[in-house]
């Protein structure tokens, strides 16, 4: 109902509709219209942190874990940045932490599927995997003893297991622990299972052609299957021209189920939603690997990183090289049609992650630039 508001002495005579002025009531819708109007693509970019970080981890809620080192005169810290809130950041500390004297110390972090927990190792901490409950904002504990810090850490989808991969030739391993969370057995230093030197792997010899021999380097990028019953890990082979392999093992025993020899070094791998195939990136190309039968097929796009959508046959990918372009590109690939779309120029991307509901994609570069993909509708 239209009302006339009588002003106080000297006040403004203003007509209003109902108790709340229209301009106030519609403010959010007006802003939404302006944002939609100015949006030229489904990608937005914004700075996430200052400085450079070679190791970052993105959560499904848009939180970035990175080593922030870059205010002059301060020691590097492990810091969580919130991509949706420029002022939201939180430094993580562990008991007995000593100030890091050097920048770019080895580190590896991983968020649980829901973004509630973070597991990580950093050379400035004790050589163990440290677990944080980010919802409860507390340090949960540490486990494992490492001579060499893990190169990769991964959570099972239900947050019950944590896997850590290390390099180091004959001493390299892929190990699995119970996280002590969500009804899992308590954390212990001894792993539940371990995979060491892959005796199933054929020795690679390229002496005739390149004068170098491919030797087992260690385990690299590691990811659990969507149902958490299997784990895929890159078996890294040293040598510029060597070919990495992919190990598929049962959880929690880490018994080999299948293995596959890739072509070139594998930079990333991701399970597709149904768990019956994975996509890996090797030598800057993307491949689909089906398990039954075990068969690899090159996809018609280049990628160094790719992450599968939680429910749809889509990939969020990054390639640092593209013909006729000086810049790298983030893009979405549709595996039903093998086409790429929604591209965005981006440099130095080191991590990509879908939101838990699959409505958004987050990506972050080593120099702290974040990219958020938010299509109208998926």
């Amino acid at each position: 109902m239209e009302t006339i508001e009588k002003p106080a002495a000297g006040g403004i005579v203003v007509r209003k509709n109902g108790a709340q002025g229209l301009a106030v009531r519609s403010a959010a819708l007006i802003r939404r219209g302006i944002e939609d109007l100015s949006r030229e693509s489904n990608w937005t970019r914004k700075p996430a942190f200052v400085g450079k970080a070679s190791k970052v981890a993105l959560s499904s809620h848009g939180n970035v874990c990175a080593i922030s080192a870059e205010t002059r005169g301060t020691a590097p810290r492990v810091t969580i940045y919130d991509l949706h809130n420029s002022f939201g950041q939180m430094a993580l500390a562990v008991p007995g932490e000593t100030p890091a004297l050097a920048k770019h110390l080895p580190a590896s972090f991983a968020w649980s599927r829901t973004g509630s927990y973070l597991a990580g190792a950093w050379a400035a901490w004790q050589p163990a995997i440290h677990v944080f409950d980010l919802d409860g904002k507390e340090f949960t504990g540490a486990f494992g003893k490492f001579q060499k810090l893990p190169s990769h850490v991964a959570w099972s989808p239900d947050s019950v297991y944590i896997a850590a991969a290390t390099i180091g030739g004959k001493s390299a391993s892929l190990r699995l622990w119970a996280s002590g969370l969500r009804g899992a057995p308590p954390m212990e230093d001894a792993p539940l299972a371990q995979a060491g030197l892959p005796d199933w792997l054929e020795r690679q010899t390229y002496e005739a052609e390149f004068g170098e021999e491919g030797a087992f380097h260690g385990y690299g990028n590691t990811v659990f299957s969507p149902d958490g019953k299997r784990i895929a890990s890159v078996v890294e082979i040293q040598g510029e021209w060597a070919d990495d392999a992919i190990l598929i093992a049962e959880v929690p025993w880490l018994r080999r189920v299948q293995s596959f020899q890739a072509q070139g070094h594998v930079s990333d791998l991701t399970w597709l939603a149904g768990g019956d195939a994975l996509v890996y990136c090797a030598a800057s190309r993307a491949y689909r690997l089906d398990f039954e039968p075990l068969e690899s097929q090159q996809l018609p796009f280049d990628a160094e990183f790719c992450v599968a959508h939680p429910t749809l046959p889509l990939l969020a990918c990054y390639t640092s090289w593209q013909q006729d372009s000086a810049k790298g590109h983030l893009f979405i690939a549709d595996l039903r049609t093998n086409t790429r779309y929604d591209e965005c120029e981006a440099d130095g991307v080191v991590e990509i992650r879908w939101s838990e509901d699959g409505a958004k994609t987050y990506a972050v570069s080593k120099d702290g630039m974040a990219y958020i993909y938010e299509p109208d509708f998926l």
Binding site: E2, I4, E5, K6, P7, A9, G10, I12, V13, V14, R15, L22, A23, R25, S26, A27, A28, L29, I30, R31, R32, G33, I34, D36, L37, T114, E356, D357, D376, F377, L378
Partner: protein, 267 residues
């Protein structure tokens, strides 16, 4: 020219010829009053023009685009609810569904009900502007010096604003002539009392001019004005951006409907 302004000029001219100091001062203040009265009317007209334009644009925006956002958010809420129903143990899905429902209700409340007739944009005729200026000069509350008269003027001014925004010329004329012929319009208690009254009116009018400037500046900085300005610029280039925005949201609605069908079929 109205009877009252003729009276004021006559009074001012006759006072100028009289030697008493308070009468000379009153003559000067009456001239100042006439000037600020005209300025206030002009500012009030500009502010009312802006309010009316933005009010009309807001109604158009909510009618053409806002109601579509409400429809889109309702579909999104339904999709999220279906997904949560399909995965009863998934707490996140339940939380997403809850958030989506809250957002849908908020958008619906903001957009309001879509009317059958599309709202028109605001355009005042020159005659309407002239009438409004006269009304503001004659009955502006800040030109009153007595409480009872001020209250009456406030009601009349609000009515005049309504008549101006809806383009009702007859109502505006009626408000003006009604006040001119009312007993409150008759003044006069000697030069001293008139002088005090005029000084107060000038002060009130000056304060109102400052208020109007602040209000206008605030409106010009609002998101609503920015959006309207953008659309006006595009319109000058032959583009109907409001329709483009509506089409974009309609595309999203089509995709959301298709997604809802898929999610429903999977149950």
């Amino acid at each position: 020219m109205t009877q009252k302004s003729t009276d004021l000029k006559t009074l001012s001219a006759s006072l100028g010829a009289i030697a008493k100091p308070e009468e000379r001062e009153l003559a000067l203040k009456l001239e100042e009053h006439a000037a600020i009265q005209a300025e206030l009317a002009e500012r009030e007209l500009k502010a009312e023009d802006l309010r009316a334009e933005l009010g009309a644009f807001e109604k158009q925006y909510l009618h053409h685009v806002g109601t579509l956002y409400a429809e889109l958010d309702e579909l999104k809420a339904q999709i999220a609810a279906r997904r949560a129903e399909a995965n009863p143990s998934d707490q996140k899905a339940k939380s997403f569904a809850c958030d989506a429902r809250t957002r849908a209700e908020e958008t619906k409340a903001s957009a309001g009900e879509k009317s059958d007739v599309a709202p028109r944009s605001f355009e005042a005729t020159l005659e309407m502007k002239r009438l409004y200026r006269e009304v503001a000069k004659r009955i502006h509350p800040d030109l009153a010096s007595e409480a009872a008269d001020r209250s009456r003027r406030e009601v009349l001014m609000a009515e005049a604003n309504g008549a101006y925004e809806s383009g009702d010329e007859t109502r505006l004329t009626k408000i003006l002539t009604g006040y001119e012929h009312s007993p409150e319009a008759v003044k006069g208690d000697g030069a001293g009392a008139d002088l005090v009254r005029v000084i107060r009116r000038i002060s009130q009018a000056q304060a109102r001019v400052v208020e109007l400037d602040a209000e206008t500046a605030k409106l010009l900085q609002s998101d609503l004005y920015k959006l309207k300005a953008h659309l006006d610029e595009a319109k000058a280039l032959g583009r109907d951006v409001l329709s483009e925005m509506a089409a974009k949201v309609a595309e999203q609605i089509a995709r959301a409907k298709s997604q809802l069908d898929k999610v429903t079929a999977m149950r």
